[in-house]
Symmetry: C3
Subunit: 350 residues, 3 copies
């Protein structure tokens, strides 16, 4: 195990561990980890048999506890979990309650649960698992080793290998496109598709619209949380991570490794540079050209600037006195003279 997670062992390297638990729940047969600072206070009393820990923090743990020393305990925990709970290939098989078109190509090692419907010319790769009641539309292609949950709808899609698509996701339906003239609202037919790379994960009840013309693209290693909305012709670069309830409007392009906090929105037709980080609940209205920029707020701006503004507003809110007849907030101090001049009113702000 230590080898698998890249840790140096301090203690009995042959000790038998049965499972992984948080520090405060672990017993002597459990592996645990110390990463988040808020767990330091309980580190000394953990019962865990072994703990993944940074070398500098190992003395926080009881002496009896086996230490697995490494720089990134959380990554070590992730790898250890993968050892304890390996992804299993599904048992191959096609439920008798699945409905599969004669022109579809389903690899014999794939597994189709009851109620799966596979339309004409669709392709499903080796060892891929399709959950109950999931609909695989005409011409959809799904690679190898994918796991698709129940009640999913996949239309107009080409997807790579080792993807995880959770329950209730809808991919490939029409995007939101309308023109308007004197005769009224005109629907713009949506005729593009969706392309998804390898190792993409999409959370439950998320939605990914097909392109209007051309494709909506999610490149490899992107991870989307639940209830994320990806509009038509969006392109997500490699390794983007979008937290729950994020929405990306049409034709916007994200670079590689962009991280977007929960409930944030990104406007349409803009470009976000590689490794930009967007705080939760932000609204990004303009392109961000600076690689690695960290932004926040509505409209989004550099996070330090946003924090400064919030601090100012907070202070004003405390300082300001709102009384009828006084039209200006008391937010200012203009040096000794000004202070004198404004007299008692200024004192209210101190």
């Amino acid at each position: 195990l230590a080898e698998a997670v890249g840790a140096e062992v301090e203690g009995d390297g042959q000790y038998l561990l049965e499972d992984v638990r948080p520090l405060d729940e672990a017993g002597e047969v459990h592996l645990s980890f110390l990463d988040n600072a808020s767990y330091r206070r309980i580190a000394g009393v953990t019962q865990a048999g072994a703990v993944l820990v940074r070398p500098a923090e190992k003395d926080l743990l009881p002496a009896a506890c086996i230490k697995l020393l490494l720089d990134n305990p959380y990554a070590g925990y992730a790898r250890a979990m993968q050892k304890f709970y390996p992804m299993q290939s599904p048992r191959p098989g096609m439920s008798s309650q699945a409905v599969v078109s004669e022109t579809a190509e389903v690899d014999p090692s794939a597994r189709l649960e009851p109620g799966v419907i596979v339309y004409a010319e669709a392709k499903i790769g080796p060892r891929t698992h399709i959950g109950a009641h999931t609909v695989v539309g005409q011409g959809v292609e799904i690679g190898a080793d994918c796991f698709v949950g129940p009640n999913v709808t996949l239309l107009n899609l080409t997807m790579g290998d080792a993807c995880l698509i959770h329950a209730g996701v809808a991919i490939g339906q029409d995007g939101f496109g309308f023109a308007q003239d004197q005769e009224g609202i005109i629907k713009v037919p949506q005729v593009g598709g969706v392309k998804i790379g390898n190792r993409v994960e999409i959370g439950a009840n998320s939605t990914v619209d097909r392109g209007a013309l051309g494709n909506t693209v999610i490149e490899e290693d992107c991870k989307l949380d639940c209830q994320v909305q990806i509009a038509h012709n969006v392109r997500l670069g490699r390794g983007c991570r979008l937290v729950a309830q994020v929405g990306i409007a049409g034709s916007t392009r994200l670079g590689e490794g962009v991280v977007i906090g929960g409930q944030s929105g990104v406007a349409g037709h803009i470009e976000i540079a590689d490794r930009v980080m967007v705080a939760a609940k932000s609204g990004v209205t303009k392109s961000v050209g600076q690689v690695g920029a960290v932004i926040a707020g509505v409209p989004a701006q550099p996070i330090e600037q946003w924090r400064r503004q919030q601090a100012l507003i907070a202070r004003m809110g405390k300082a300001g006195k709102i009384t009828k007849g006084v039209t200006e907030p008391r937010v200012t101090k203009t040096g000794k003279k000004g202070k004198k001049a404004s007299g008692s009113k200024t004192e209210e702000t101190s």
Copy 2:
């Protein structure tokens, strides 16, 4: 009826009512109620045969109208509705189009609609109704008298009695957990479950992730609106109410009776005290220790403080003049002396 809702009758206690209607639509065979202040103006002309009303407001109603006097007319209306529209136990039965594992235990008084799929070792309690195409995963336990709508996915779940789970809900899928090191993004296997208490209601297309380790917990009497997202290892105390499109990030704990307005988000790894109320569209970034606190804004803060800030900002927006070459907003009045000094510029702000 008066007894059931705890009201004192002023008028004919034997009068026959057929149904419940809003004040402006009710006729003489209808019961109505006067609760929201905005309905007072139409109270005098209602045609309702009987009205639930506070004693102090009874004279707003026509003399002919029977008054059912009580302190909380809306609660009375809710109880009256429950009398007029009682929840009915479903007719027992298992659709021939349902697919049920031989090792599942389905109570004979339960009802499974067409397309229901029940996996191995799942348990479904007495009088529980499972809607069409709903998937009940391996080992899932559902109590008595529950109503589960169509197209729902239930995985890794133990749920109590008398719960309502509406269409399209997804419970028990993987949470959003990733570590990162020099080799890339590492998925943290999600192996916990979801525990839901009695009388919980979850609105359509909401999502509840399984715990990473341990469980995501929703205690009894919690009510979730549509499109709510509950991340892994969140714990909601008894009787929390979350309005539509709220998101709660991982490992956060809410006390009892917490109320969160629509589209608000709560950050991960924090704790919210009992009976805290969060205004709609807020972003809660820190733990809230004060029982019953009312907070608002992004980041969330005491609502009075937030209101003061908004009022100040609004006033500044009206007062401020933005012209090239003038780099400071005109937001200040520094007493007579300052005012004189700044001359005509200050006048623009008045």
Copy 3:
């Protein structure tokens, strides 16, 4: 084609076009369009065989390119797309895997995909397509020429003609209604329905709750994007457009042609006048009486006022210096005298 889109041809009116492409991808057999200003810079090098363009911009295009001159190229593009990709009536037919009540009325020209479930007394009109695993509840009425995607749930609904309902939508489930008294939380039974007019489009995984009493109403020509939430007893006037992840709280009424940007919310029990436009990520807390008003922010206000506030805050954020012991932000300039008085401190703000 030119006739269909209302354009005047400058070039060979008999030229054969095979498809539609964006300006930068179009070849000589493609039609394209020049509408968005950001495409002007590439207009001169397009390979498109023909381009829809405003008369004033036609000279931006290569001489060899056929010009189709019209005032609204985007509307022309929408109409051209409808010519190239006409909506097709489905092949009539009922899948042998569909489950249809004997008392349901399904027009023989309708199409039911595998797994469709139609309950008692439901009606499905001519040429309407119902997607795989969609559930049509008891008494639901669906008009002619509708397209309903897969995994949709329709309950307590009456819907007009030519509607598009995308995958995963849930319509007609209980709204979020609870009363509270000393005995606890009391569910208010939800017994109303949903009425949807002609030509309404609803995006994937959106939710529309049934009325508490009376109906939730979506009038004709409304267009809803993905993951929109419409609460009980909301009424949307004709031709409203709601972008992704918008939420409208209970009993609120929108006039005709209201447009709401993505992730915005509208509070309950208010009224929004015709043609009001709400910017993305806004929170509308009060009724808006002014027809055509454009509003933004949380709480929403006239957009010009909101922009002014944002500019002020941004400037303050840049100007303000936050240091311990200095309790007021440096946001002010009070004319020459004040400036002198505050000395070096004021300079920090310049």
